[in-house]
């Protein structure tokens, strides 16, 4: 296939300045699992001009449907999760200092010394170790979560309270060919899904699910999959790129090849084969791969293994929903600063749009 000239993609969505600015707004918004309001508001504002069929369900998912013009359109659910990992204040210790808990898969080693925003008022605070009093303690000892507190200063002690959510306050930045932000997982998927809805291919009914609570057990996608009852599902997410070099030196790791990179930055959209929660549908994998080759869009296969995303919940709804996932590779997801390549995002959106445009019932006509 690769020897043939690239076909023209029907009305491909473009990522230009406006799209990057929307991604910036989405990433800077605070939406910890269970508290997705800030992102939901942006999503509703963005999708309403393109379809009147929009609803917010019992968990807070935004379900937006855009019908195609074909006589028998394939009903495709495309999902991206709105929530991000974060923190919640759980105890007021006085003097502006609060004990907190982690929501989602956040490593405590990423927390100390970071700025945060707390509560609906986005009150600034910092994560510190209030009772550290020595400079020469043993630095080989890990700092336990138990020693960390969120400090909003004595002046703001009454402006926040236990139950308030907190996120990193990292702001969006461009680093040469890269974009850096918090919550790129999965605002990049949300931004892509908004673009797909704006440029929905006419051959399908596009059932867009902007889901909640992905980071705490794929809970939003589960009810969204049930409610939308699609023929098939495509999950757009952000997956780790662990494509770092091995640490050289006096050890056996010296000069070794990194065999567990999961995905690589700059190598295009990452197509899933399987992860800890899903064995992705081979017919849909084939469709994505063939579309990529047909249109000369770079892609990579995500290394099979751990992790998981909304596909894990969606594919087991009702009598089963054939599902596949595709991610923008992101370095350092679930930390204050994720780095992606702009080119990977462009190619992910291009491939998603092309694959949807090429979808016919024939893709699923063969048995799995």
């Amino acid at each position: 296939m690769a020897t043939q000239p690239a076909l023209e993609i029907p009305r491909p969505p473009r990522i230009a300045e406006a799209q990057i600015r929307l991604l910036e707004r989405l990433c800077n918004a605070c939406a910890v699992s269970g508290n997705e309001g800030e992102v939901r508001k942006i999503v509703l504002e963005q999708v309403k001009p393109y379809t009147s069929d929009v609803r917010v369900d019992a968990l807070g998912n935004v379900l937006a449907v855009r019908r195609g013009q074909a006589s028998q359109p394939v009903r495709v659910m495309v999902a991206a999760h709105m929530d991000e990992v974060g923190l919640m204040l759980v105890d007021d210790e006085g003097d502006g200092i609060f004990r907190f808990d982690i929501i989602g898969g956040l490593n405590a080693a990423q927390l100390v010394g970071k700025p945060v925003l707390v509560g609906r008022g986005r009150v600034p605070g910092v994560i510190g170790r209030p009772i550290r009093i020595s400079d020469d303690e043993d630095r080989d000892e890990k700092i336990p979560l138990d020693a960390l507190r969120i400090d909003v200063s004595p002046d703001n002690a009454k402006r926040v309270k236990p139950g308030d959510y907190a996120t990193f306050s990292t702001t969006f930045a461009r680093l040469g060919p890269s974009l850096r932000a918090k919550a790129m997982d999965d605002r990049i998927g949300v931004a892509s899904l908004i673009e797909l809805l704006r440029n929905a291919p006419p051959n399908i009914d596009l059932l867009a699910a902007f889901t909640v609570q992905e980071e705490v057990g794929l809970r939003g996608a589960r009810v969204a999959g049930y409610a939308l009852n699609p023929d098939l599902a495509l999950i757009l997410d952000c997956t780790p790129a662990r494509d770092l070099p091995a640490w050289e030196g006096d050890s056996q790791a010296a000069g070794q090849e990194n065999r567990l990179y999961n995905t690589r930055l700059g190598a295009g959209p990452a197509i899933y084969i399987s992860d800890a929660s899903t064995i992705h549908d081979p017919r849909l994998i084939r469709h994505l791969v063939e579309t990529a080759e047909q249109f000369h869009i770079p892609y990579q296969i995500r290394q099979p293994g751990g992790g998981g995303n909304d596909a894990g919940a969606v594919h087991r709804q009702r009598t089963g929903i054939p599902s596949v996932s595709m991610s923008v590779p992101g370095r350092y997801i679930h930390t204050p600063a994720t780095i992606i390549r702009l080119e990977d995002w462009k190619n992910t959106l291009k491939l998603a749009h092309a694959a949807l445009s090429q979808l016919t019932p024939a893709v699923l006509a063969v048995e799995r």
């Binding site: 209030p130 080989d140 700059g266 780095i339």
Partner: protein
């Protein structure tokens, strides 16, 4: 002159790592120039500012020293488009993962510090959290671009912008010890239109975080009769031991211990009480960990004192101070200089009532 908070925010928006203090020195020079009679830069880069006294020559000299250098990192190697780093000053590697930094390459590059995944580290690395091994900086550029732009030895500083938590509380990197430079600046402002018998030398010292080299050499060059180090100290929080920490917003601390001349301590304490400036005595058994440590033993020895501003999360990019404490420190220093009589040294004694 800018508002105190504006100036302090400028001071914590530049790098000025130990040995490379010029970005912060330039800011201080600009702020101090209209407030002093003379400015000079020492051979190790410290800034000396003189406010001339009125007593006949030879006038005794009072030295106020606040270090202007900050902790940070330095590029120690390039690895497939990533940067290895080593520390400048005392950096706790455990708070580096996920920190935003600026790499001071041919042009400044924004970056983030990242820990290597376990499978890429040597087997023994898990037991060596205490070194910067296993941490890299990612600047988001391709390997060849990094090769072209970054060199070993380039400085890496925290990129955390100042956080104005409220009107009184400010957080950011390098408040240790830029908070004290702000206090010295407020001291100079308070001295405007007033006279001192003594010559007052304000010194922004270098390399405190590494060798105390700036304070030692500046004290030798200026040979003051009295020297005060202005620095920051551990701020308290619910649950912290009261004898080792000091509350934020409740005033500066006066050091007490081997680095402190008891007579000088008493003079400051009595003055603070008279002016109703809240202060706390901070016990510093053995060493103070400040410029006073070296100034005390310069030449034939100098009576020294330590005035500190309580600060939470020391040596992190989110250090926190109270602007009120800074203003109080500045006022106390100014008033001390003003009331200092020309024969103070004749009356400076070790024991009370001696």
């Amino acid at each position: 002159m800018a508002e105190p908070v504006t100036f302090l925010k400028q001071l914590i928006s530049v790098a000025g790592l130990s040995g490379y203090e010029s970005p912060v020195r330039e800011l201080v020079e600009t702020a101090w120039r209209p407030l002093v009679d003379e400015l000079q830069v020492s051979r190790l880069g410290s800034l000396h500012a003189l406010r001339r006294g009125t007593a006949p020559e030879p006038r005794p000299r009072l030295l106020y020293a606040a270090h202007m250098d900050a902790i940070g990192m330095m590029v120690s190697g390039l690895l497939d488009g990533f940067l290895r780093i080593s520390e400048v000053g005392g950096v706790d590697p455990r708070l580096l993962p996920g920190q935003l930094v600026t790499v001071h390459a041919r042009q400044d590059l924004p970056g983030v510090i990242v820990p290597l995944p376990k499978h890429l580290l040597p087997a023994e690395a898990g037991k060596r959290l205490g070194t910067l091994g296993g941490l890299l900086v990612d600047v988001g550029l391709s390997g060849s671009e990094v090769q072209r732009r970054v060199r070993v030895g380039d400085l890496v500083s925290f990129a955390q912008p100042p956080i104005e938590l409220s009107e009184e509380y400010l957080a950011g990197h390098s408040l240790d010890n830029r908070a004290s430079l702000a206090a010295l600046t407020q001291c100079l402002q308070a001295l405007q239109g007033r006279q001192t018998a003594w010559d007052v030398w304000l010194v922004a010292t270098t390399q405190e975080e590494e060798t105390f080299g700036g304070a030692r050499t500046s004290a030798f060059q200026l040979r003051p009769a009295l020297a005060v180090a202005i620095d920051v100290t551990f701020g308290s929080a619910p649950g912290s031991p009261a004898h080792l920490t000091s509350p934020l917003g409740k005033g500066p601390t006066l050091g007490w211990g081997a680095n402190i001349h008891p007579g000088l301590y008493r003079a400051f304490k009595e003055l603070a009480e008279r002016l109703e400036i809240p202060i706390k005595t901070e016990l510093m058994p053995t060493y103070s960990g400040t410029d006073a440590e070296v100034m005390q033993i310069v030449a034939e020895g100098i009576p020294t004192m330590v005035l500190s501003i309580p600060l939470r999360y020391i040596h992190s990019p989110v250090e926190m101070v109270s602007l009120k404490d800074i203003a109080r420190a500045g006022r106390l220093l100014a008033e001390f200089a003003v009331q200092l009589e020309v024969d103070f040294m004749d009356r400076l004694t070790w024991e009370e009532g001696e």
